[in-house]
């Protein structure tokens, strides 16, 4: 056992200079990817449940394709392809945002699909009997209940998404982990920096999953 660990370098200045910028990006990426992923994922889920083959098939291929490829490869693919398609280079951060929205949409769509399917058929029939159109039925009857049933799972996926943002390391985007790493390198204390990164990730994710558990209990009682 040779513990040569010195925390004295780890000051508030270091935190604001290196880590905070990365933390903001990680959180921003999480929020944007969650919002975009749920929106796009709902569309994908509706396509898969539409019963029309020309809508179902592309959505199924997209979702299963995304889910069978490692996220790191998806990040690399978008970093390579997006500049080719739009014809000019984009930054790692922008590329990461596009990637995460597209990638998480596949996962959110599976959650949404399960949520929509969990709504009893009678609800849909009741809506139809009231003379609602498909859009009204979805917007007013099915989706509000589906969202509520799925809220804990959606939030858990968001926590996983927050952890996954660390993988933008592959294209060198400046996220929280990168912030810790650069701070560690600048001060010659990489070991402490990685440990601090682990602690900060743990505190954030543990607090979030604890709140999700509380919320789950609350919702379960009301229902």
């Amino acid at each position: 056992m040779n513990l040569n660990i010195d925390w004295s370098f780890f000051t508030w200045d270091l935190f604001t200079n290196f880590v905070l910028k990365g933390l903001y990006f990680s959180l921003f990426l999480t929020v944007v990817a969650t919002a975009g992923g749920i929106a796009l994922g709902t569309v994908l889920a509706l396509m898969r449940l539409s019963g029309k083959k020309w809508l179902d098939l592309p959505a199924t291929i997209y979702v299963n394709g995304m889910r069978s490829i490692p996220l790191v490869m998806v990040i690399l693919w978008f970093f390579l392809l997006v500049p080719l398609i739009i014809g000019r280079p984009i930054g790692a951060e922008v590329s990461a945002i596009i990637t995460f929205v597209a990638f998480e949409a596949a996962y959110f769509s599976e959650i949404m699909r399960a949520g929509i399917q969990s709504i009893p058929r009678g609800q849909v029939f009741a809506g139809q009997a009231m003379g609602m159109t498909y859009g009204q039925n979805m917007k007013l009857v099915v989706l509000p209940q589906a969202f509520r049933n799925m809220l804990p799972v959606l939030l858990t996926q968001t926590i996983i998404l927050f952890q996954d943002t660390s993988l933008v390391y592959a294209i060198g985007a400046y996220d929280m982990l990168k912030g810790f790493e650069i701070a560690g390198k600048n001060y010659g204390r990489p070991i402490e920096a990685y440990m601090a990164a682990a602690v900060v990730y743990f505190i954030i994710c543990y607090a979030l999953s604890w709140s999700v558990k509380r919320l789950h209990k609350k919702i379960a009682i009301i229902r």
């Binding site: 056992m1 040779n2 513990l3 040569n4 069978s68 490829i69 490692p70 996220l71 790191v72 490869m73 690399l76 693919w77 390579l80 392809l81 952890q163 996954d164 660390s166 993988l167 390391y169 592959a170 982990l177 990489p190 070991i191 990685y194 440990m195 990164a197 682990a198 990730y201 743990f202 994710c205 543990y206 999953s209």
Partner: protein, 250 residues
Amino acid sequence: MSWDWQVFCQDTITQEVGASCFGQGGDITYLDWMLSAWGWTVSVSLLSLIVALVVGSVIGTLRTLPDSPWIVRLGNAWVEFFRNIPLLVHIFLWYHVIPSIFPAMKSLPGFVLVVFALGFFTSARIAEQLRSGILALPRGQRYAGMAMGFTTFQYYRYVLLPMAFRIIIPPLTSETMNIFKNSSVAFAVSVAELTMFAMQAQEETSRGIEVYLAVTGLYVISALAINRIMAFVEKRSRVPGMIAAGGGGH
């Protein structure tokens, strides 16, 4: 856009296309490199899976023991530790931090450290699945074991675990596929697996699309293979009448 699949027949050093797409006399083509990278991906994944299954089974079982709150708490702490820190950070902890705390581990290759990181990371998920598998069994099974005079070890070994493991085969399948996908994170500590190959070959040859397509294809093939193998295991191990038939490998 034009395809150039010749890139895989290029020599990795001279960048010349050889007569055969497999290097001869010690030369290495990109195809050789990619196949060996696939080998690394498969070895990292399978070894991690073994670590994860062993550790996950132990922790998952401990978390369901009756009348031992501290062991249960320890198991819960293990699971929370691994579930709330990203895999990449775990890999950095194993690769950078642990060898500097235990100098004896400095001689270990990065490959071994990644296997431990990925294995322990996944063990927490398997522990969680096994716990819910055991809790899903009717309580009477445990009591029946006790009434037969089995010790705690015996009724876990002969009554609870055989059923629990069958129940969790579907989530275990997706976890095995996750291990293959997660092994890509090993690129960060320079293990020569597929993602590392993809990044380096893309840089050296500038034929990114061909390289990425081939690598992505290998990942998909690996995932399909696992899915089929696990579906076979599920079919073979099914107890008639106990577990609802159907529901594929997912």
